[in-house]
């Protein structure tokens, strides 16, 4: 008897007891649905974390000034100016793992348009900043290195600032804004960046050339970077390598002895992201374990019903053997029945799981990720459950003695 016929015979046999077949397969349905839904949800959550951190700028480091120490009281991060403009130049030019580096100087200030005003963060920087943050300009253009060199009074606005000063969807390019009563002409508008993981609005910002910032908005010390340096890394494990290189370079340049503490700080936002992902992974592993247990229980259910079925159909087995079925035909038939139950359960489970995941994703506003490998794994595993738990009942059926089986009442 070939496979196709065996499958048809199995389907007919299962079809004779539809409710029972359905209930038997239900264990596997629930197990697989749980796996699919959990993985989809886990991946959705993970993708959300990744997306959030990508908005900070992937492959990005932040280098801060050190903390001051006076009379035993430690100052906060950045309170001790230690990063010089030459340090920045060295970071930009000397390190292989660094792609770009840009200074960021910040000051809060009132910004005025013709008929509105808004308090926002003015940031003095260089065009590289937008590359580091992978943050393209949506309208107009970014200011150029020439603008920075010449201390030009130009500005690039974040979306929130545009909304507040000019209203939504306005194009302010060519307009003039005033910061501390100094006119800046708007040359571009940044694309929307959204919020940081901690709720800070990235779009509430006005970017101006760092030279102009120093001259007109906030003086600070001439030789030191009175803010932070953002660094983008290149290559695999770029962040880790860049962090190491920047640290080595700065310690060298600041002539720190081996046992001296760093007089600067390097922050790596992607570390926060990986910590979050670790948490998600633990949760996923736990849920997978629960799903595996329910698949096991489903498998036991299949085995139980298959054993009942073998006993119930002893006479049928006897007849089949009498008319020429070999032991392996009988074994295959019951194995295929168990396999059909579990794989059908698996497929229904996949559909149910995707349904649940889709529903949860829309309820929580996550993107739903469907991973074909997980679906194949789930269906494959349910097939394995069918073969594993169907084997013994099938063997038992095939070992029946036809004479005894035919006499069975």
């Amino acid at each position: 008897m070939n496979w196709l016929m065996t499958l048809r015979v199995a389907l007919r046999a299962l079809g004779r007891n539809k409710l029972r077949s359905f209930l038997t397969g239900l264990g596997v349905v629930i197990g697989v649905a749980a796996v699919i839904a959990m993985v989809a949800i886990g991946d959705g959550a993970k993708a959300r974390v990744e997306q959030t951190f990508a908005s900070i700028g992937s492959n990005m480091l932040i280098v801060l000034n050190g903390s001051s120490q006076g009379g035993g009281a430690m100052g906060g991060a950045g309170s001790l100016p230690s990063l010089t403009w030459d340090d920045l130049k060295a970071i930009q030019t000397e390190l292989s793992a660094v792609r770009e580096a840009a200074p960021v100087l910040r000051a809060g200030s009132q910004v005025m348009s013709e008929d509105a005003n808004w308090n926002t963060s003015i940031q003095g920087t260089t065009p590289d900043f937008l590359r580091v943050r992978s943050w393209p300009v949506a309208v107009g253009a970014e200011f150029s290195q020439t603008d920075v060199d010449g201390g030009m009074k130009v500005a690039v606005l974040g979306q929130t600032v545009v909304d507040k000063l000019y209203g939504p969807n306005a194009n302010p390019v060519g307009q003039v804004i005033r910061v501390k009563n100094i006119p800046f002409s708007v040359v571009g508008v940044l694309s929307k960046k959204g919020q940081s993981p901690f709720g800070q609005d990235f779009d509430d910002v006005v970017l101006v050339p760092v030279s102009t910032f120093q001259q007109k908005i906030s003086g600070g010390l001439k030789n030191f970077v009175a803010g932070q340096i953002v660094v983008s890394s290149r290559g695999q494990d770029g962040n880790a390598r860049a962090q190491q290189q920047v640290r080595g370079l700065l310690r060298d340049r600041h002539r720190l002895t081996v046992d001296a503490d760093d007089d600067f700080q390097i922050r790596n936002p992607s570390e926060i992201a990986s910590a979050q992902q670790e948490g998600t992974k633990t949760l996923t592993t736990l849920l997978m374990a629960i799903a595996a247990v329910s698949l096991l229980v489903g498998g036991i259910g299949i085995m139980n019903i298959m054993l009942v079925s073998v006993t119930e159909r002893t006479r049928e087995i006897g007849v089949r053997m009498a008319v020429g079925a070999r032991a392996r035909d009988i074994q295959l038939q019951f194995l295929v029945e168990a396999l059909t139950l579990s794989v059908a359960g698996g497929l229904i489970g996949v559909a149910t799981g995707l349904g649940i995941a889709g529903w949860l994703a829309s309820a929580f506003g996550w993107s739903m990720l469907v991973r074909p490998d997980v679906i194949m794994l789930a269906v494959g595993f349910s097939g394995l459950v069918g073969v594993g738990f169907g084997f013994y009942p099938a063997l038992k059926a095939s070992r029946l003695d036809p004479i005894t089986a035919l006499r069975f009442e």
Binding site: M1, V9, R315, V319, G324, A325, A327, I403, L406
Partner: protein
């Protein structure tokens, strides 16, 4: 004897062992069955006729002795070879019909063909033909629970015939039938024997055995008598049953 025997049993014994007790179900049976012979095996329960039936049907192997079926020694064949032999050479008819429930007559009859890998179209055609042969050409889609006992037994006979066996074994085929339908079934057997099929009938009813051309009586695992007789013709009423 002119014709080559279909079945030859030579000093067959069968011993069942139940713990320390040995049960001698067959104590040395020697027998020839010719093609087209219609033989009834009679005997009380415990006489060894069921054991004989199982051996003849290749469902079991003798403890000693030789069993030649179509000249082939079968006591040395393995289980798969026996299954193939049952499939191609032997047809079984049982007292309780043993049809698969919730399965149409046609599919029941097709069952042996499934195990000899006959392709679908030919399978349907042969099963249909076999059902027509037993007078149930108009009942192919009926399920066993929609048929009378006589009809069910005829479906079982159609199933036994579908692989064109040389040898038909019927174990108390009329045991669950009333006398009128029994008569139908016996008429069918007589007709099949006349076409060259060797029919063996196990029964304890002398009335039924009277339709056979040869009656073998067994007692205590041995053949006590082996008589040839003029068979009483059965009056066929096939296809004219009052049952729906």
């Amino acid at each position: 004897m002119a014709a080559e025997p279909l079945v030859r049993l030579e000093d067959i014994t069968k011993v069942y062992r139940m713990g320390d007790v040995e049960l001698r179900a067959l104590a040395g049976v020697t027998l020839d069955l010719l093609p087209g012979e219609f033989t009834a095996i009679m005997g009380a329960s415990g006489s060894g006729k069921s054991t004989m039936m199982n051996l003849l049907g290749c469902l079991d192997r003798p403890t000693s002795g030789r069993y030649l079926l179509e000249g082939q020694e079968i006591s040395r064949l393995d289980n798969d070879q026996l299954a193939a032999l049952r499939n191609r050479t032997i047809g079984f008819v049982f007292q309780s019909f043993n049809l698969l429930s919730r399965t149409s007559a046609l599919e029941n009859v097709e069952l042996p063909l499934l195990y000899s890998n006959v392709p679908g179209a030919e399978r349907h055609a042969r099963a249909r033909e076999s059902l027509e042969r037993v007078g149930l050409g108009d009942r192919v889609d009926h399920h066993p629970n929609q048929m009378s006992g006589g009809q069910q037994q005829r479906v079982a006979i159609a199933r036994a015939l579908v692989n064109r066996p040389r040898f038909l074994l019927a174990d108390e085929p009329t045991g669950n039938l009333d006398s009128r339908t029994s008569e139908d079934v016996m008429a069918l057997f007589q007709e099949l024997a006349s076409t060259g099929i060797t029919v063996i009938l196990v029964t304890h009813e002398p009335d039924i055995a009277a339709h056979a051309a040869r009656v073998i009586t067994m007692r205590d695992g041995l053949v006590r008598s082996d008589l040839r007789q003029a068979p009483r013709p059965a009056v066929a009423q096939a296809g004219q049953e009052a049952h729906p």
